[in-house]
């Protein structure tokens, strides 16, 4: 039985007290003495030659301190890309420059051209309106397939084309895959779009740059998921500031979803301008600005083929995907459609042959990068949709065709270069069929029919790879960073503990779950433990939070550091109790000597560490503080099965999600309540993608869904009460906690279930011509599908 606070307890989130009472300290709450404000002039054209920028009138406006243009960044580096992908022929991707402020050309609506620094935000905006930018408009590159045709206008003139890379995976298998298709009993083909999304965290991005001339130190306060990564990228590649002169602080952050991983121009600008002017410079994004400057997500166009034998056993998979990079390479953009996508194409199935081709394309749109799931939702969606289509074509039950192809023996090496350490896909599928009451569907279908509604049942499985690792491997794959995590466990003299972690919390609940682990290891109240994160000045260099890595990688680092602490504390205890170190046990906050009634409280030993009057100084140093860096041996592989039941209004095409069930295997779980919350949030985002959200550009590269008046965010009443189960547990075999990660599962696993359910509803109602509808399944699209050739 879990205690009410240790591993396995649904401890209430301690951070919520400040979040829910307005006591959070977000970047926009930071206002420094003498602070100035910046407003950016952003391009209203998607593509054009920037022939000149006249800032004379703006410079004379009241309150204006200085106006910057691209020319002011002579000698300053561009925004770097953190991952280099190698193409099918072994050549590096095409990697264009990404200036902080546009030079020579503007390449997307929202591209920053100039910046006014003034004493108030309103005055900065007033002056921006007085800047005149001479832009000769060029034809916009918007459609990915047209962009790679010879003769297309080029986003970057210095590149040979708009093709960033043409990636084949695994290239050596290509011919074998083609042969398998040539001889297949049945081939199911599906063309689909993974719709472009805007992350829309509740808190827009903010940056405050500060500079102290007397010691030459720069500080950046920013809305980031990974302050150390920003320090490294901005310091080393953009502004040439060594780490010891650059501090990056990411305080409370109001949601990230991936879009706050990346290093953005506004961060570099504020840091640079603060140094140039000698006063703090602050930027706060408006929601409108966020739509044209935050990295977008997804935006793939895919053709997938699945070859099957007569029994429905998968023989081979072949895909061709066009992946939108936008106008510039955002920090980790090249990795998303490749290593975070191609490696997941086996899914939960033992398909022996797989070939994935991805063409990454530059267009005159906002850069695209990781968004909750990052590549894995795209892989899951196409695979689980084509399987459903194959089941229809072969007259098989959607659960049965999956069951027949499940991987059942672990470890399992996929044909796409990863090794699943553990899993039990039958267990999660059976759990799903039980909690979703599939057997009761016919009754619910009849009830829907009686009120004039169509009803459908859709299920799918998913697998994801979390805690991307190890560093040595990802380095070979093109990552320009390590992917370890760090923690320092500092025990104070009276026994309290502070953990300084490189993981960043922006809603995940680290301040609650991390202490649960330490409390469990030592046997002390979690109230004695604090978590520090988000400030490069007081935490060891860590890689931050994304890819569902915090507990699996950051938590493991913390466990390693705590193990070192406990080992040392036991030495001290052994000395104090005049016992052998090997006989010392620690439980419930007490050190005992095996086979005796000797005991010492945790606090007695920690005090001795700092007041070493009676202490083995010849063997160990005073103090009780240890740091660990943990580089995992492998990814973790959470998996599960999801099911959606929808009703469709046959008169309007409106879809309502009536039931949604999720059976996940996350391995061991620290806090089941927080895990359920993560799944709930992910499901809401996945249902949002499936039914509502759509980031659309017109042919001129204008963003037509540039506000919440046209970009449909999921609201509470768009989702049902979820049925979430995570009792199926196959612990990860290679990290100390046996944990896998749960942050992205909901967003990865849910879109195919929704689409499968809607297609099922339409087909049951006689619209058997419908085999696919592209997301979002808006009422108008569903109505059009019902009425096309029907």
């Amino acid at each position: 039985m879990p205690k009410d606070f240790g591993i396995g307890a649904s401890t209430k989130r301690r951070e919520d007290v400040r979040f829910l009472t307005g006591k959070g300290r977000y970047t926009d709450d930071i206002n420094l003495p003498n602070q100035l404000h910046v407003a950016f002039l952003r391009s209203d054209k998607a593509h054009g030659l920037l022939k000149g920028v006249d800032t004379a009138e703006a410079s004379r406006m009241p309150g204006v301190v200085r106006v910057f243009t691209g020319a002011d960044f002579e000698g300053v580096g561009g925004l770097p890309c953190g991952w280099q992908v190698t193409d099918r022929e072994g050549n590096p991707m095409q990697e264009p420059g990404h200036p902080v402020l546009a030079r020579g050309k503007v390449r997307h609506v929202g591209d920053p051209i100039a910046a006014v620094v003034a004493d108030t935000q309103e005055r900065a905006r007033d002056a921006v309106e007085k800047i005149s930018a001479d832009i000769e408009e060029l034809p916009a590159v918007v459609d990915m397939r047209k962009a790679v045709v010879a003769g297309s206008p080029k986003v970057h003139d210095e590149l040979t084309s708009n093709l960033c890379y043409d990636w084949g995976f695994v290239e050596e298998n290509r011919e074998k895959v083609d042969q398998a298709f040539a001889g297949a009993h049945h081939v199911t083909t599906l063309e689909l779009v993974n719709n472009r999304l805007v992350a829309n965290p509740m808190e827009p991005r903010v940056a405050v740059g500060d500079y102290t001339a007397h010691n030459g130190e720069s500080t950046l306060y920013t809305t980031s998921q990974n302050p150390h990564v920003i320090r490294l990228l901005m310091g080393a590649f953009v502004l040439s500031i060594p780490e010891h002169k650059l501090r990056v602080v990411a305080p409370d952050v109001g949601g990230g979803f991936g879009t706050k991983i990346f290093h953005y121009a506004e961060e570099a600008f504020c840091t640079f301008a603060a140094r140039e002017i000698g006063r703090p410079v602050k930027w706060t994004s408006s929601r409108s600005e966020a739509f044209v400057s935050d990295a977008h997500g997804r935006d793939h166009v895919t053709r997938i083929e699945l070859a099957l034998d007569a029994d429905g056993v998968f023989q081979a998979i072949r895909t061709e995907t066009f992946a939108n990079m936008g106008a510039y390479l955002s920090t980790f953009a090249p990795s998303v459609p490749t290593w975070l996508h191609g490696t997941l194409m086996a899914g939960n199935y033992g398909t022996p042959l797989i070939y994935v081709n991805v063409k990454a394309v530059f267009t005159n749109t906002v850069p695209v990068d990781a968004y909750r799931g990052a590549g894995r939702p795209e892989a899951t969606f196409q695979l689980e949709r084509v399987i459903d289509k194959a089941a229809i074509e072969m007259g098989m039950d959607p659960a049965e065709i999956r069951r027949k192809n499940f991987i059942t023996k672990f470890p399992y090496a996929t044909p796409v270069a990863v090794e699943y350490d553990t899993g039990d896909y039958n267990a999660t599928l059976e759990k799903l069929l039980s909690i979703s009451d599939r057997d009761g569907f016919e009754g619910r279908l009849a009830a829907s029919k009686a009120k004039g509604r169509l009803r459908g049942f859709g299920l799918n499985c998913y697998i994801e790879a979390c805690g991307i690792a190890p560093s040595q491997l990802v380095g070979q794959l093109g990552a320009r960073a390590g992917l370890y995590e760090s923690a320092t466990v500092r025990v104070n003299a009276t026994g309290g503990v502070v953990v300084m972690t490189g993981s960043h919390s922006h809603g995940q609940g680290h301040e609650t779950t991390f202490p649960q682990v330490i409390a469990d290891m030592i046997g002390i109240d979690p109230g004695m433990i604090e978590i520090e994160h988000g400030d490069t000045a007081n935490t060891p260099m860590g890689m931050g939070t994304y890819g569902s890595r915090s507990i699996a990688v950051g938590g493991s680092a913390m466990v390693r550091a705590a193990e070192k602490v406990i080992k040392k504390a036991k030495k001290i205890a052994a000395h104090l109790m005049e016992a052998s170190e090997g006989d010392i046990e620690l439980a419930d906050g007490k050190f005992t000597v095996a086979g005796t009634d000797k005991e010492l409280a945790w606090g007695d030993v920690t005090l001795a560490a700092y007041v070493p009057h009676n202490y083995p100084l010849e063997d160990i140093e005073p103090g009780l503080e240890e740091t660990a860096f943990y580089d995992p041996a492998n990814f973790t592989f959470p998996a599960g099965a999801y099911c959606c039941e929808v009703e469709v209004d046959p008169d309007t095409g409106a879809v309502t999600v009536e039931r949604f069930s999720a059976a996940d295997d996350f391995g061991n779980i620290i806090n089941p309540m927080i895990v359920s919350g993560q799944v709930h949030g992910g499901l809401a985002q996945g249902i949002g993608q499936a039914l509502l959200e759509s980031c659309l550009y017109d042919v001129n590269g204008q963003l037509v869904s540039g506000s919440w008046m046209d970009y449909a965010m999921p609201r509470a009443d768009d989702v049902p009460s979820f049925s979430v189960d995570h009792s199926c547990r196959t612990p990860c075999t290679h990290n100390p906690l046996g944990v896998k990660g749960c942050g992205e599962a909901g967003a990865i696993g849910s879109p195919p279930a929704v689409v499968n359910a809607v297609v099922d509803a339409l087909r049951r109602a006689g619209h058997t011509h419908v085999t696919h509808i592209d997301m979002p399944l808006s009422p108008s699209r569903v109505w059009a599908a019902m009425n096309a050739n029907g």
């Binding site: 309106e129 409108s288 919440w708 808006s778 009422p779 059009a784």
Partner: protein
């Protein structure tokens, strides 16, 4: 937003006077105007807040006509019991924050092509009272965001004929939750009126073909066979003209079924 002065008249006479100054703009709830100002899409020199004008408050019913002060909020309209179909419509505009601020006068003066009130006024029949005249409902709406109001004219009250039966059906645009198509059906002693919002490039309009059919036979079956043409319907990312035209039929059918 750009800097502006604000006037807070307590009487209609003061409000009329304030509207004559500079680039004055009436503020009546501001649920559209304030976001517009924040985006710097408008630059009035004076905002004349109508919230404190005593003559523009209140709701009263007399001889089958409901008179609502121009500054009455959606919440107040939702709370009146004289005209249930209108109360239901008002109670589903926006969210509670919008309904506590937004006003019927402000909404009608703005005449957003997807707003709800224009359909109610047009289907009810009646008039718009201003600081200088009374404008018949049928003459008030003149296309998207266009009305018969002069630039400085203030809606002081709205007079609606209370029908024998009525219902409003709104199909939500998924993002804004304004009406993608909204249909207000009102059965009066002298005939049925059907007003459609959200659908047309010309703004709110009456579907006369449905009105004729329903005046002869007020039943859902009477409009089952009717199809509104797609010509002139709005085309955007949320729906084609054909889809909107189809929804007009569906929503009309449902409104009649609910009202009968």
């Amino acid at each position: 937003m750009y800097a502006f002065d604000i006037a807070k008249p307590a009487t209609l006479a003061e409000a009329v006077q304030a509207m004559k100054t500079g680039e004055a703009q009436a503020l009546s709830g501001g649920q559209t105007l304030i976001p517009t100002l924040k985006q710097r899409l408008a630059a009035p020199s004076v905002l004349v807040s109508l919230a404190g004008v005593g003559e523009m408050k209140g709701v009263s019913a007399k001889d089958g006509v409901l008179e609502i002060g121009g500054a009455a909020t959606h919440r107040e309209v939702a709370g009146q019991r004289h005209y249930p179909g209108l109360a239901e419509l008002a109670g589903r505009i926006g969210d509670p924050a919008v309904r506590n601020r937004g006003t019927i006068g402000g909404s009608l003066a703005n005449n957003d092509p997807s707003a709800c009130y224009p359909a109610a006024l047009l289907a009810s029949g009646g008039s718009v009272k201003t600081d200088r005249r009374e404008i018949a409902a049928d003459d008030f709406f003149q296309g998207m965001f266009a009305t018969a109001l002069e630039a400085d004219e203030i809606i002081t009250a709205v007079r609606l004929r209370v029908p024998e039966a009525s219902n409003y059906q709104k199909f939500l645009q998924p993002a804004s939750r304004f009406a993608l198509v909204g249909v207000f059906v009102a059965r009066h002693a002298d005939g049925v009126r059907v007003a459609v919002t959200g659908a047309s490039e010309g703004g709110v309009f009456r579907w006369t073909e449905a009105e004729r059919a329903l005046s002869a036979d007020f039943s859902a079956g009477a409009v089952s066979g009717l199809k509104h043409p797609a010509d002139g319907m709005i085309s955007d990312i949320h729906g084609t003209p054909e889809y909107r035209a189809h929804l007009i039929g569906v929503m009309t059918h449902r409104a009649v079924a609910a009202a009968s």
